[in-house]
Amino acid sequence: MTAHRLSVAALVLVMTVAACRPEPPPPPPAPTGPTEEELAQMRADSIARARADSIAAAEAAAERARAEAERLAAEQRAMRMTLEQMVNFDYDESAIRPDAESVLREKVDILRANPSVSLAIEGHADERGSTEYNLALGSRRAESVRTFLTGFGLDEGRFATSSRGEEEPLVAESNEEAWAQNRRAQFTISGDEDLVSPR
Protein backbone atom coordinates (compact mmCIF):
# COMPACT_ATOMS: atom_id res chain seq x y z
CA MET A 1 0.00 0.00 0.00
CA THR A 2 2.75 2.48 0.92
CA ALA A 3 4.64 1.52 -2.25
CA HIS A 4 1.57 2.28 -4.31
CA ARG A 5 1.23 5.77 -2.74
CA LEU A 6 4.92 6.48 -3.40
CA SER A 7 4.61 5.59 -7.05
CA VAL A 8 1.67 8.01 -7.35
CA ALA A 9 3.81 10.77 -5.79
CA ALA A 10 6.71 9.89 -8.12
CA LEU A 11 4.40 10.21 -11.10
CA VAL A 12 3.31 13.71 -9.92
CA LEU A 13 6.96 14.71 -9.51
CA VAL A 14 7.86 13.57 -13.02
CA MET A 15 4.99 15.58 -14.40
CA THR A 16 6.08 18.74 -12.58
CA VAL A 17 9.61 18.43 -13.96
CA ALA A 18 8.14 18.00 -17.44
CA ALA A 19 6.21 21.27 -16.99
CA CYS A 20 9.51 23.19 -17.02
CA ARG A 21 9.85 22.37 -20.61
CA PRO A 22 8.73 24.97 -23.22
CA GLU A 23 5.80 22.94 -24.46
CA PRO A 24 2.66 23.47 -22.41
CA PRO A 25 1.99 20.54 -20.24
CA PRO A 26 -0.94 18.33 -20.90
CA PRO A 27 -3.67 18.61 -18.30
CA PRO A 28 -2.87 16.47 -15.34
CA PRO A 29 -4.91 13.40 -14.93
CA ALA A 30 -7.52 13.46 -12.28
CA PRO A 31 -5.94 12.28 -9.05
CA THR A 32 -6.93 8.77 -8.11
CA GLY A 33 -7.65 8.13 -4.32
CA PRO A 34 -8.15 4.82 -2.60
CA THR A 35 -10.93 2.86 -3.97
CA GLU A 36 -14.09 2.21 -2.03
CA GLU A 37 -12.82 -1.26 -1.32
CA GLU A 38 -9.54 0.05 -0.02
CA LEU A 39 -11.31 2.49 2.29
CA ALA A 40 -13.48 -0.24 3.74
CA GLN A 41 -10.43 -2.34 4.31
CA MET A 42 -8.68 0.53 6.06
CA ARG A 43 -11.65 1.10 8.37
CA ALA A 44 -11.81 -2.55 9.25
CA ASP A 45 -8.09 -2.60 9.89
CA SER A 46 -8.22 0.34 12.29
CA ILE A 47 -11.12 -1.15 14.25
CA ALA A 48 -9.21 -4.41 14.62
CA ARG A 49 -6.15 -2.47 15.71
CA ALA A 50 -8.09 -0.58 18.33
CA ARG A 51 -9.65 -3.77 19.64
CA ALA A 52 -6.30 -5.52 19.89
CA ASP A 53 -4.82 -2.52 21.65
CA SER A 54 -7.60 -2.39 24.25
CA ILE A 55 -7.42 -6.15 24.84
CA ALA A 56 -3.68 -5.90 25.36
CA ALA A 57 -4.17 -2.97 27.71
CA ALA A 58 -6.80 -4.88 29.69
CA GLU A 59 -4.62 -7.94 29.82
CA ALA A 60 -1.68 -5.92 31.02
CA ALA A 61 -3.84 -4.32 33.71
CA ALA A 62 -5.11 -7.70 34.83
CA GLU A 63 -1.59 -9.05 34.92
CA ARG A 64 -0.45 -6.06 36.93
CA ALA A 65 -3.34 -6.56 39.39
CA ARG A 66 -2.58 -10.24 39.68
CA ALA A 67 1.09 -9.61 40.29
CA GLU A 68 0.23 -6.97 42.87
CA ALA A 69 -2.20 -9.32 44.65
CA GLU A 70 0.45 -12.01 44.62
CA ARG A 71 3.02 -9.59 45.94
CA LEU A 72 0.63 -8.51 48.69
CA ALA A 73 -0.20 -12.12 49.59
CA ALA A 74 3.49 -12.96 49.64
CA GLU A 75 4.07 -9.90 51.78
CA GLN A 76 1.30 -11.01 54.16
CA ARG A 77 2.81 -14.45 54.31
CA ALA A 78 6.26 -13.04 54.86
CA MET A 79 4.99 -10.75 57.63
CA ARG A 80 3.15 -13.60 59.31
CA MET A 81 6.20 -15.80 58.99
CA THR A 82 8.31 -13.05 60.49
CA LEU A 83 5.88 -12.65 63.38
CA GLU A 84 5.76 -16.41 63.94
CA GLN A 85 9.44 -17.13 63.47
CA MET A 86 10.78 -18.90 66.55
CA VAL A 87 13.77 -17.74 68.53
CA ASN A 88 16.19 -20.10 70.28
CA PHE A 89 18.03 -19.89 73.57
CA ASP A 90 21.25 -21.14 75.11
CA TYR A 91 21.17 -24.02 77.58
CA ASP A 92 19.40 -23.08 80.80
CA GLU A 93 19.35 -19.41 79.71
CA SER A 94 16.54 -17.00 79.03
CA ALA A 95 18.71 -14.13 77.70
CA ILE A 96 17.93 -13.00 74.14
CA ARG A 97 20.76 -14.10 71.83
CA PRO A 98 22.06 -11.76 69.05
CA ASP A 99 20.50 -13.95 66.35
CA ALA A 100 17.17 -13.85 68.18
CA GLU A 101 17.49 -10.10 68.56
CA SER A 102 17.43 -9.48 64.81
CA VAL A 103 14.45 -11.82 64.43
CA LEU A 104 12.59 -9.96 67.16
CA ARG A 105 13.42 -6.53 65.74
CA GLU A 106 11.73 -7.50 62.50
CA LYS A 107 8.67 -8.43 64.53
CA VAL A 108 8.80 -5.03 66.23
CA ASP A 109 8.56 -3.21 62.86
CA ILE A 110 5.49 -5.19 61.83
CA LEU A 111 3.86 -4.87 65.24
CA ARG A 112 4.36 -1.10 65.18
CA ALA A 113 2.61 -0.86 61.79
CA ASN A 114 -0.23 -3.06 63.10
CA PRO A 115 -1.26 -1.82 66.53
CA SER A 116 -4.27 -4.15 66.75
CA VAL A 117 -2.23 -7.34 66.32
CA SER A 118 -1.29 -9.33 69.42
CA LEU A 119 1.08 -12.25 69.87
CA ALA A 120 0.95 -15.25 72.18
CA ILE A 121 4.50 -16.17 73.25
CA GLU A 122 5.13 -19.78 74.35
CA GLY A 123 8.38 -20.67 76.11
CA HIS A 124 9.90 -24.17 75.77
CA ALA A 125 12.84 -25.99 77.37
CA ASP A 126 14.89 -28.98 76.30
CA GLU A 127 14.52 -32.27 78.18
CA ARG A 128 17.56 -31.78 80.41
CA GLY A 129 17.08 -30.47 83.93
CA SER A 130 14.13 -30.89 86.29
CA THR A 131 10.58 -31.04 84.99
CA GLU A 132 9.19 -28.34 87.27
CA TYR A 133 12.28 -26.15 86.97
CA ASN A 134 11.91 -26.34 83.19
CA LEU A 135 8.31 -25.15 83.45
CA ALA A 136 9.62 -22.01 85.15
CA LEU A 137 12.46 -21.77 82.64
CA GLY A 138 9.91 -21.76 79.78
CA SER A 139 8.08 -18.92 81.52
CA ARG A 140 11.32 -16.97 81.88
CA ARG A 141 12.05 -17.38 78.18
CA ALA A 142 8.59 -16.20 77.13
CA GLU A 143 8.86 -13.31 79.57
CA SER A 144 12.31 -12.38 78.31
CA VAL A 145 10.93 -12.12 74.76
CA ARG A 146 8.03 -9.99 75.96
CA THR A 147 10.38 -7.67 77.84
CA PHE A 148 12.49 -7.28 74.71
CA LEU A 149 9.44 -6.41 72.59
CA THR A 150 7.90 -3.99 75.09
CA GLY A 151 11.32 -2.33 75.30
CA PHE A 152 10.52 -0.89 71.86
CA GLY A 153 7.45 0.87 73.22
CA LEU A 154 4.99 -1.85 72.28
CA ASP A 155 2.10 -2.25 74.70
CA GLU A 156 2.60 -5.10 77.17
CA GLY A 157 -1.05 -6.12 76.82
CA ARG A 158 -0.40 -7.26 73.26
CA PHE A 159 1.71 -10.21 74.46
CA ALA A 160 0.34 -13.19 76.40
CA THR A 161 3.15 -15.38 77.73
CA SER A 162 2.98 -19.02 78.80
CA SER A 163 5.30 -21.95 79.32
CA ARG A 164 5.21 -25.52 78.05
CA GLY A 165 8.29 -26.58 79.97
CA GLU A 166 10.01 -29.57 78.37
CA GLU A 167 6.70 -31.19 77.45
CA GLU A 168 6.44 -30.37 73.74
CA PRO A 169 9.80 -30.87 72.04
CA LEU A 170 10.06 -29.84 68.38
CA VAL A 171 12.53 -32.66 67.74
CA ALA A 172 11.94 -35.76 69.85
CA GLU A 173 15.58 -36.79 70.10
CA SER A 174 18.26 -36.65 72.76
CA ASN A 175 21.23 -34.91 71.19
CA GLU A 176 22.75 -31.42 71.08
CA GLU A 177 21.09 -30.54 67.79
CA ALA A 178 17.63 -31.52 68.95
CA TRP A 179 18.09 -29.78 72.30
CA ALA A 180 19.22 -26.56 70.56
CA GLN A 181 16.02 -26.54 68.50
CA ASN A 182 13.81 -27.44 71.44
CA ARG A 183 15.01 -24.49 73.57
CA ARG A 184 12.75 -21.91 71.98
CA ALA A 185 9.98 -19.36 72.10
CA GLN A 186 7.07 -19.90 69.71
CA PHE A 187 4.64 -17.24 68.53
CA THR A 188 0.97 -17.33 67.58
CA ILE A 189 -0.73 -14.33 65.94
CA SER A 190 -4.20 -13.53 67.20
CA GLY A 191 -6.72 -12.58 64.49
CA ASP A 192 -6.38 -13.06 60.74
CA GLU A 193 -7.02 -9.55 59.41
CA ASP A 194 -4.55 -8.32 56.80
CA LEU A 195 -1.36 -6.85 58.14
CA VAL A 196 -0.09 -3.44 57.11
CA SER A 197 3.45 -3.49 55.78
CA PRO A 198 5.84 -1.30 57.77
CA ARG A 199 7.42 0.01 54.52
Partner: protein, 448 residues
Protein backbone atom coordinates in the same frame (compact mmCIF):
# COMPACT_ATOMS: atom_id res chain seq x y z
CA UNK B 1 28.81 -48.07 116.20
CA UNK B 2 31.55 -46.11 114.49
CA UNK B 3 33.32 -49.30 113.49
CA UNK B 4 30.11 -50.57 111.91
CA UNK B 5 29.82 -47.36 109.90
CA UNK B 6 33.26 -47.76 108.43
CA UNK B 7 32.59 -51.32 107.35
CA UNK B 8 29.43 -50.16 105.61
CA UNK B 9 31.48 -47.68 103.57
CA UNK B 10 33.87 -50.41 102.49
CA UNK B 11 31.00 -52.65 101.52
CA UNK B 12 29.49 -49.87 99.43
CA UNK B 13 32.74 -49.27 97.65
CA UNK B 14 32.92 -52.95 96.74
CA UNK B 15 29.33 -53.07 95.56
CA UNK B 16 29.62 -50.04 93.30
CA UNK B 17 29.76 -50.99 89.64
CA UNK B 18 33.15 -50.38 88.09
CA UNK B 19 32.03 -47.46 85.93
CA UNK B 20 30.56 -45.64 88.87
CA UNK B 21 33.54 -46.24 91.12
CA UNK B 22 35.87 -44.92 88.45
CA UNK B 23 33.74 -41.82 87.94
CA UNK B 24 34.99 -38.62 89.47
CA UNK B 25 32.87 -37.78 92.47
CA UNK B 26 31.46 -34.31 92.95
CA UNK B 27 32.65 -32.67 96.08
CA UNK B 28 31.32 -29.55 97.67
CA UNK B 29 33.82 -27.49 99.64
CA UNK B 30 32.70 -27.21 103.24
CA UNK B 31 29.95 -29.75 102.77
CA UNK B 32 30.05 -33.28 104.04
CA UNK B 33 28.48 -35.57 101.49
CA UNK B 34 27.35 -38.47 103.66
CA UNK B 35 28.11 -41.89 102.29
CA UNK B 36 27.28 -43.76 105.43
CA UNK B 37 23.86 -45.16 106.11
CA UNK B 38 22.59 -45.22 109.65
CA UNK B 39 23.63 -48.57 111.04
CA UNK B 40 20.12 -49.79 111.62
CA UNK B 41 19.42 -53.10 113.26
CA UNK B 42 17.01 -55.16 111.16
CA UNK B 43 15.55 -57.98 113.27
CA UNK B 44 14.58 -61.30 111.72
CA UNK B 45 10.86 -61.93 111.27
CA UNK B 46 9.28 -65.33 110.71
CA UNK B 47 5.79 -65.75 109.35
CA UNK B 48 4.12 -68.99 110.30
CA UNK B 49 1.76 -70.02 107.48
CA UNK B 50 -1.67 -68.63 108.34
CA UNK B 51 -4.20 -71.19 109.51
CA UNK B 52 -7.25 -71.17 107.26
CA UNK B 53 -10.71 -72.28 108.28
CA UNK B 54 -12.75 -74.31 105.78
CA UNK B 55 -13.10 -72.41 102.49
CA UNK B 56 -10.48 -69.80 103.38
CA UNK B 57 -7.37 -71.58 102.05
CA UNK B 58 -6.98 -69.46 98.95
CA UNK B 59 -7.67 -66.19 100.74
CA UNK B 60 -5.22 -67.15 103.50
CA UNK B 61 -2.43 -67.75 100.98
CA UNK B 62 -3.11 -64.46 99.21
CA UNK B 63 -3.28 -62.43 102.43
CA UNK B 64 -0.10 -64.02 103.71
CA UNK B 65 1.77 -63.35 100.43
CA UNK B 66 0.76 -59.68 100.38
CA UNK B 67 1.70 -59.17 104.04
CA UNK B 68 5.04 -60.94 103.58
CA UNK B 69 5.96 -58.72 100.65
CA UNK B 70 4.76 -55.56 102.42
CA UNK B 71 6.93 -56.36 105.43
CA UNK B 72 9.91 -57.04 103.20
CA UNK B 73 9.28 -53.73 101.41
CA UNK B 74 9.13 -51.98 104.79
CA UNK B 75 12.90 -52.67 105.00
CA UNK B 76 12.51 -52.99 108.79
CA UNK B 77 12.82 -56.79 109.06
CA UNK B 78 15.09 -59.47 107.79
CA UNK B 79 12.50 -61.85 106.41
CA UNK B 80 13.00 -65.55 107.17
CA UNK B 81 11.84 -67.49 104.15
CA UNK B 82 11.88 -71.22 104.89
CA UNK B 83 9.83 -72.24 107.87
CA UNK B 84 10.24 -75.88 109.02
CA UNK B 85 7.11 -77.98 108.74
CA UNK B 86 7.34 -78.85 112.44
CA UNK B 87 6.59 -75.27 113.34
CA UNK B 88 3.27 -75.14 111.52
CA UNK B 89 0.31 -75.60 113.78
CA UNK B 90 -1.17 -74.33 117.02
CA UNK B 91 0.84 -72.88 119.87
CA UNK B 92 4.15 -71.06 119.65
CA UNK B 93 7.38 -72.77 120.68
CA UNK B 94 9.42 -69.65 121.43
CA UNK B 95 12.65 -71.50 122.22
CA UNK B 96 12.54 -73.29 118.88
CA UNK B 97 11.90 -70.02 116.95
CA UNK B 98 14.67 -68.42 118.98
CA UNK B 99 17.11 -71.12 117.96
CA UNK B 100 16.09 -70.55 114.30
CA UNK B 101 17.14 -66.94 114.72
CA UNK B 102 13.70 -65.31 114.72
CA UNK B 103 13.31 -62.12 116.73
CA UNK B 104 9.69 -61.56 115.76
CA UNK B 105 7.04 -64.04 114.74
CA UNK B 106 3.77 -63.41 112.94
CA UNK B 107 0.93 -65.90 113.24
CA UNK B 108 -2.57 -65.67 111.80
CA UNK B 109 -5.87 -67.44 111.38
CA UNK B 110 -8.35 -66.67 108.62
CA UNK B 111 -12.04 -67.46 108.66
CA UNK B 112 -14.63 -66.98 105.97
CA UNK B 113 -17.46 -64.68 106.99
CA UNK B 114 -19.98 -64.80 104.16
CA UNK B 115 -18.31 -63.23 101.15
CA UNK B 116 -15.74 -61.59 103.42
CA UNK B 117 -12.97 -62.88 105.67
CA UNK B 118 -11.84 -62.26 109.21
CA UNK B 119 -8.13 -62.32 110.02
CA UNK B 120 -6.87 -62.77 113.58
CA UNK B 121 -3.25 -61.76 113.68
CA UNK B 122 -0.64 -61.98 116.44
CA UNK B 123 2.87 -60.62 116.66
CA UNK B 124 5.17 -62.48 119.05
CA UNK B 125 8.34 -61.23 120.64
CA UNK B 126 10.43 -64.39 120.38
CA UNK B 127 13.33 -63.10 122.48
CA UNK B 128 11.09 -62.28 125.45
CA UNK B 129 8.81 -65.23 124.75
CA UNK B 130 5.53 -63.35 124.75
CA UNK B 131 2.87 -62.00 122.43
CA UNK B 132 3.60 -58.37 121.63
CA UNK B 133 0.27 -57.38 120.07
CA UNK B 134 -2.73 -58.75 118.22
CA UNK B 135 -5.68 -57.59 116.18
CA UNK B 136 -8.77 -58.73 114.30
CA UNK B 137 -9.23 -57.46 110.75
CA UNK B 138 -12.30 -57.56 108.56
CA UNK B 139 -11.18 -58.16 104.97
CA UNK B 140 -13.17 -57.91 101.73
CA UNK B 141 -13.27 -60.80 99.30
CA UNK B 142 -10.06 -60.94 97.18
CA UNK B 143 -12.25 -60.25 94.14
CA UNK B 144 -13.24 -56.86 95.61
CA UNK B 145 -11.33 -53.74 94.61
CA UNK B 146 -10.57 -52.78 98.21
CA UNK B 147 -9.01 -56.14 99.12
CA UNK B 148 -5.34 -55.38 98.57
CA UNK B 149 -5.51 -51.99 100.31
CA UNK B 150 -7.26 -53.62 103.31
CA UNK B 151 -4.41 -56.16 103.57
CA UNK B 152 -1.82 -53.36 103.21
CA UNK B 153 -3.40 -51.73 106.26
CA UNK B 154 -2.86 -54.97 108.19
CA UNK B 155 0.84 -54.87 107.23
CA UNK B 156 1.10 -51.29 108.48
CA UNK B 157 -0.46 -52.40 111.79
CA UNK B 158 2.32 -54.97 112.22
CA UNK B 159 4.95 -52.26 111.68
CA UNK B 160 3.19 -50.05 114.23
CA UNK B 161 2.90 -52.88 116.79
CA UNK B 162 6.59 -53.69 116.59
CA UNK B 163 8.19 -50.27 116.08
CA UNK B 164 5.51 -47.82 117.13
CA UNK B 165 6.11 -46.03 113.83
CA UNK B 166 3.88 -45.57 110.76
CA UNK B 167 4.12 -47.98 107.82
CA UNK B 168 3.67 -47.16 104.16
CA UNK B 169 2.05 -50.22 102.59
CA UNK B 170 -1.45 -48.69 102.52
CA UNK B 171 -0.55 -45.85 100.18
CA UNK B 172 -0.36 -45.00 96.52
CA UNK B 173 1.95 -43.09 94.23
CA UNK B 174 0.69 -40.58 91.66
CA UNK B 175 2.82 -39.71 88.62
CA UNK B 176 2.52 -38.61 84.98
CA UNK B 177 3.35 -40.73 81.98
CA UNK B 178 2.58 -40.61 78.26
CA UNK B 179 -0.06 -43.24 77.42
CA UNK B 180 0.66 -45.52 74.47
CA UNK B 181 -0.35 -43.79 71.23
CA UNK B 182 -0.63 -40.39 72.85
CA UNK B 183 1.59 -37.31 72.68
CA UNK B 184 0.99 -35.78 76.10
CA UNK B 185 1.31 -36.97 79.69
CA UNK B 186 -1.69 -38.07 81.75
CA UNK B 187 -1.95 -38.82 85.49
CA UNK B 188 -1.59 -42.37 86.84
CA UNK B 189 -1.83 -44.07 90.24
CA UNK B 190 -0.06 -47.20 91.42
CA UNK B 191 -0.14 -48.94 94.81
CA UNK B 192 2.99 -48.73 97.00
CA UNK B 193 3.98 -52.27 95.99
CA UNK B 194 3.78 -51.54 92.25
CA UNK B 195 0.41 -53.27 91.77
CA UNK B 196 -2.87 -51.85 90.49
CA UNK B 197 -1.50 -49.36 87.94
CA UNK B 198 -4.23 -47.22 86.43
CA UNK B 199 -4.77 -43.97 84.57
CA UNK B 200 -6.98 -41.34 86.18
CA UNK B 201 -7.08 -38.41 83.72
CA UNK B 202 -8.07 -37.99 80.10
CA UNK B 203 -7.09 -34.40 79.44
CA UNK B 204 -5.49 -34.82 76.02
CA UNK B 205 -3.00 -32.23 77.27
CA UNK B 206 0.02 -32.37 79.54
CA UNK B 207 -0.79 -33.20 83.19
CA UNK B 208 1.98 -32.78 85.79
CA UNK B 209 3.06 -32.21 89.40
CA UNK B 210 0.49 -34.10 91.51
CA UNK B 211 -0.15 -33.27 95.18
CA UNK B 212 -2.31 -35.30 97.59
CA UNK B 213 -4.79 -33.79 100.01
CA UNK B 214 -3.81 -34.75 103.59
CA UNK B 215 -6.77 -37.19 103.82
CA UNK B 216 -5.83 -38.81 100.50
CA UNK B 217 -9.26 -38.14 98.97
CA UNK B 218 -8.17 -35.51 96.46
CA UNK B 219 -5.35 -35.11 93.99
CA UNK B 220 -4.43 -31.69 92.61
CA UNK B 221 -2.09 -31.19 89.67
CA UNK B 222 -1.06 -28.85 86.88
CA UNK B 223 -2.86 -29.37 83.58
CA UNK B 224 -2.62 -27.66 80.18
CA UNK B 225 -6.16 -28.75 79.26
CA UNK B 226 -7.35 -25.13 79.10
CA UNK B 227 -4.41 -24.26 76.84
CA UNK B 228 -2.17 -22.89 79.59
CA UNK B 229 -0.88 -24.22 82.92
CA UNK B 230 -3.62 -24.19 85.56
CA UNK B 231 -4.28 -26.06 88.80
CA UNK B 232 -6.93 -28.81 88.69
CA UNK B 233 -8.36 -30.83 91.55
CA UNK B 234 -9.81 -34.32 91.24
CA UNK B 235 -12.03 -36.03 93.85
CA UNK B 236 -10.50 -39.47 93.48
CA UNK B 237 -13.55 -41.49 94.59
CA UNK B 238 -15.94 -39.69 92.22
CA UNK B 239 -13.41 -38.89 89.48
CA UNK B 240 -14.91 -35.40 89.37
CA UNK B 241 -12.60 -32.55 88.44
CA UNK B 242 -12.53 -28.80 88.59
CA UNK B 243 -10.06 -26.16 87.51
CA UNK B 244 -9.10 -23.42 89.94
CA UNK B 245 -9.82 -20.19 88.08
CA UNK B 246 -6.63 -18.22 87.42
CA UNK B 247 -6.03 -15.85 90.28
CA UNK B 248 -3.36 -13.74 88.61
CA UNK B 249 -1.80 -13.37 85.18
CA UNK B 250 0.71 -16.11 84.43
CA UNK B 251 1.16 -19.86 84.53
CA UNK B 252 -0.09 -21.55 87.70
CA UNK B 253 2.33 -24.39 88.43
CA UNK B 254 3.64 -26.75 91.17
CA UNK B 255 0.62 -26.86 93.52
CA UNK B 256 0.88 -28.36 97.02
CA UNK B 257 -1.77 -28.98 99.67
CA UNK B 258 -1.05 -27.45 103.05
CA UNK B 259 -1.46 -29.86 106.01
CA UNK B 260 -4.75 -28.11 106.90
CA UNK B 261 -6.24 -29.56 103.70
CA UNK B 262 -7.99 -26.27 102.87
CA UNK B 263 -5.12 -24.12 101.73
CA UNK B 264 -3.05 -24.77 98.69
CA UNK B 265 0.22 -23.13 97.73
CA UNK B 266 1.46 -22.84 94.17
CA UNK B 267 3.78 -20.79 92.00
CA UNK B 268 2.58 -18.21 89.51
CA UNK B 269 5.28 -17.46 86.94
CA UNK B 270 4.96 -14.11 85.22
CA UNK B 271 8.20 -12.16 85.06
CA UNK B 272 8.79 -9.74 87.89
CA UNK B 273 5.37 -10.61 89.35
CA UNK B 274 6.27 -14.28 89.84
CA UNK B 275 5.99 -15.83 93.25
CA UNK B 276 4.53 -18.40 95.60
CA UNK B 277 0.94 -17.78 96.67
CA UNK B 278 -1.43 -19.54 99.03
CA UNK B 279 -5.16 -19.78 98.44
CA UNK B 280 -8.07 -21.29 100.33
CA UNK B 281 -9.62 -23.76 97.89
CA UNK B 282 -12.59 -24.63 100.14
CA UNK B 283 -13.81 -21.07 100.52
CA UNK B 284 -12.27 -19.78 97.28
CA UNK B 285 -10.65 -16.90 99.03
CA UNK B 286 -7.69 -15.36 100.69
CA UNK B 287 -5.01 -15.28 98.00
CA UNK B 288 -1.80 -14.52 99.91
CA UNK B 289 1.58 -13.63 98.44
CA UNK B 290 4.24 -15.65 100.32
CA UNK B 291 7.41 -14.92 98.39
CA UNK B 292 8.49 -13.74 95.01
CA UNK B 293 10.14 -11.38 92.63
CA UNK B 294 11.72 -12.43 89.41
CA UNK B 295 13.56 -15.34 91.01
CA UNK B 296 11.03 -17.92 89.96
CA UNK B 297 10.23 -19.34 93.36
CA UNK B 298 8.57 -22.69 92.58
CA UNK B 299 7.87 -26.20 93.93
CA UNK B 300 6.70 -25.31 97.48
CA UNK B 301 6.46 -28.10 100.09
CA UNK B 302 5.16 -27.80 103.67
CA UNK B 303 6.58 -29.15 106.92
CA UNK B 304 4.19 -31.62 108.57
CA UNK B 305 2.93 -28.93 110.98
CA UNK B 306 2.56 -26.35 108.20
CA UNK B 307 4.86 -23.94 110.03
CA UNK B 308 7.54 -24.01 107.34
CA UNK B 309 7.63 -23.91 103.61
CA UNK B 310 10.56 -25.16 101.55
CA UNK B 311 10.81 -24.18 97.89
CA UNK B 312 13.10 -23.86 94.88
CA UNK B 313 14.51 -20.51 93.81
CA UNK B 314 16.96 -18.89 91.43
CA UNK B 315 17.78 -16.05 93.78
CA UNK B 316 21.48 -16.95 93.87
CA UNK B 317 21.59 -16.69 90.10
CA UNK B 318 19.66 -18.19 87.23
CA UNK B 319 20.67 -21.65 86.14
CA UNK B 320 21.81 -22.36 89.71
CA UNK B 321 18.60 -23.20 91.54
CA UNK B 322 18.83 -23.79 95.28
CA UNK B 323 16.47 -25.05 97.98
CA UNK B 324 15.16 -22.46 100.46
CA UNK B 325 13.17 -22.54 103.66
CA UNK B 326 10.87 -19.82 105.01
CA UNK B 327 7.99 -19.55 107.50
CA UNK B 328 4.75 -21.09 106.21
CA UNK B 329 3.10 -17.66 106.07
CA UNK B 330 6.01 -16.18 104.12
CA UNK B 331 9.04 -14.26 105.33
CA UNK B 332 12.79 -14.38 105.14
CA UNK B 333 14.21 -17.42 103.34
CA UNK B 334 17.40 -19.37 104.11
CA UNK B 335 19.20 -21.66 101.70
CA UNK B 336 19.27 -25.30 102.86
CA UNK B 337 20.94 -26.96 99.85
CA UNK B 338 24.74 -27.25 99.69
CA UNK B 339 25.52 -23.84 98.23
CA UNK B 340 29.12 -22.83 97.77
CA UNK B 341 30.11 -19.48 96.27
CA UNK B 342 32.31 -20.75 93.46
CA UNK B 343 30.36 -23.94 92.76
CA UNK B 344 26.72 -23.10 93.22
CA UNK B 345 25.32 -26.31 91.76
CA UNK B 346 21.82 -27.22 90.66
CA UNK B 347 19.37 -28.41 93.32
CA UNK B 348 15.65 -28.75 92.66
CA UNK B 349 12.42 -30.64 93.42
CA UNK B 350 12.30 -30.47 97.26
CA UNK B 351 9.92 -32.58 99.38
CA UNK B 352 9.60 -32.21 103.16
CA UNK B 353 9.39 -35.43 105.17
CA UNK B 354 6.02 -36.17 106.82
CA UNK B 355 7.75 -37.30 110.04
CA UNK B 356 10.93 -35.26 110.42
CA UNK B 357 12.66 -31.93 109.74
CA UNK B 358 14.34 -33.46 106.71
CA UNK B 359 14.01 -32.42 103.08
CA UNK B 360 14.70 -34.63 100.06
CA UNK B 361 15.63 -33.13 96.70
CA UNK B 362 17.76 -33.94 93.69
CA UNK B 363 20.72 -32.20 92.22
CA UNK B 364 24.35 -32.06 91.31
CA UNK B 365 27.33 -29.79 91.62
CA UNK B 366 27.95 -30.18 87.92
CA UNK B 367 25.20 -30.36 85.36
CA UNK B 368 24.34 -33.60 83.73
CA UNK B 369 23.22 -36.39 85.98
CA UNK B 370 21.34 -35.90 89.21
CA UNK B 371 21.18 -37.82 92.45
CA UNK B 372 18.71 -38.07 95.28
CA UNK B 373 19.86 -36.11 98.33
CA UNK B 374 18.45 -35.60 101.81
CA UNK B 375 19.33 -32.85 104.26
CA UNK B 376 18.23 -31.95 107.78
CA UNK B 377 16.92 -28.40 107.55
CA UNK B 378 18.82 -27.18 110.63
CA UNK B 379 22.12 -28.13 109.00
CA UNK B 380 21.56 -25.49 106.32
CA UNK B 381 23.15 -27.53 103.57
CA UNK B 382 26.40 -28.15 105.46
CA UNK B 383 25.78 -31.88 105.51
CA UNK B 384 23.90 -33.76 102.83
CA UNK B 385 23.29 -37.46 102.38
CA UNK B 386 23.38 -38.90 98.91
CA UNK B 387 21.09 -41.88 98.34
CA UNK B 388 21.76 -42.80 94.70
CA UNK B 389 25.08 -43.35 92.95
CA UNK B 390 24.13 -44.69 89.56
CA UNK B 391 22.46 -43.26 86.46
CA UNK B 392 20.12 -40.30 86.72
CA UNK B 393 17.69 -39.79 89.58
CA UNK B 394 15.03 -37.10 89.95
CA UNK B 395 11.99 -35.86 91.85
CA UNK B 396 12.02 -37.68 95.21
CA UNK B 397 8.82 -37.86 97.29
CA UNK B 398 8.46 -39.18 100.83
CA UNK B 399 6.34 -42.18 101.76
CA UNK B 400 3.99 -41.72 104.76
CA UNK B 401 6.51 -43.66 106.90
CA UNK B 402 9.06 -40.84 106.50
CA UNK B 403 11.63 -43.47 105.65
CA UNK B 404 11.16 -44.36 101.99
CA UNK B 405 11.43 -42.12 98.94
CA UNK B 406 9.95 -42.74 95.51
CA UNK B 407 11.79 -41.22 92.55
CA UNK B 408 12.23 -41.31 88.81
CA UNK B 409 15.32 -43.35 88.01
CA UNK B 410 17.26 -43.95 84.83
CA UNK B 411 19.77 -46.75 84.44
CA UNK B 412 21.63 -48.29 81.54
CA UNK B 413 18.76 -50.78 81.15
CA UNK B 414 16.08 -48.09 81.02
CA UNK B 415 13.85 -45.92 83.14
CA UNK B 416 11.51 -46.74 85.98
CA UNK B 417 9.76 -45.85 89.20
CA UNK B 418 12.24 -46.48 92.04
CA UNK B 419 11.93 -46.66 95.83
CA UNK B 420 14.86 -46.19 98.21
CA UNK B 421 14.86 -46.82 101.96
CA UNK B 422 16.66 -43.83 103.47
CA UNK B 423 17.69 -45.83 106.54
CA UNK B 424 19.37 -48.79 104.82
CA UNK B 425 19.90 -47.56 101.27
CA UNK B 426 17.96 -50.55 99.92
CA UNK B 427 16.70 -49.60 96.47
CA UNK B 428 14.15 -51.38 94.31
CA UNK B 429 12.27 -50.68 91.11
CA UNK B 430 8.54 -50.96 91.60
CA UNK B 431 7.68 -50.16 87.96
CA UNK B 432 10.50 -51.01 85.55
CA UNK B 433 10.56 -49.78 81.95
CA UNK B 434 8.29 -46.78 82.35
CA UNK B 435 9.16 -43.13 81.80
CA UNK B 436 7.52 -41.49 84.81
CA UNK B 437 7.41 -37.79 85.65
CA UNK B 438 7.30 -36.13 89.10
CA UNK B 439 5.99 -38.99 91.28
CA UNK B 440 4.20 -38.05 94.51
CA UNK B 441 3.63 -40.50 97.35
CA UNK B 442 0.25 -40.32 99.09
CA UNK B 443 -0.37 -40.07 102.82
CA UNK B 444 -1.56 -43.25 104.59
CA UNK B 445 -4.85 -44.17 102.93
CA UNK B 446 -7.79 -45.21 105.05
CA UNK B 447 -10.16 -45.95 102.16
CA UNK B 448 -10.14 -48.52 99.31
Amino acid sequence: MRHCGVSVVVLWALLLPEGVAAQERDSIPGVTLGLVYETTYTPALGIRPFTPSLGADQAAAQVEAIIARDLRYSDRFRMMDSIPEALVGEGVDYSLWDRLGAVWLLTGRIEAAGERFVLDLEVHDVVYGRMKDSGRFDLPNPREEGFRMAVHRVSDSVVEWVFDEPGMAASRIAFSMIPLGSATKEMYLVDSDGENLRRITNHGATVLSPTWSPDGSKLAFTSFKSGVARTWIQELELRSERMIEPLRTGDHITPVFSPDGETMSFAVTSGARSGIFSYNIERNCCLTHLSGGRWNDISPTYSADGDWLVFNSNRLGTANPQIYMMPGRGGEADVISPYSFDRPGYFTAPDWSPTDAVVAFHGAIRRGTYHILVARVEERGQRVRQLTWEGNNEDPSWAPDGRHLVFKGERRWGKGLFVVDVATGNTRVILPGVDVTVPEWSPALSGG
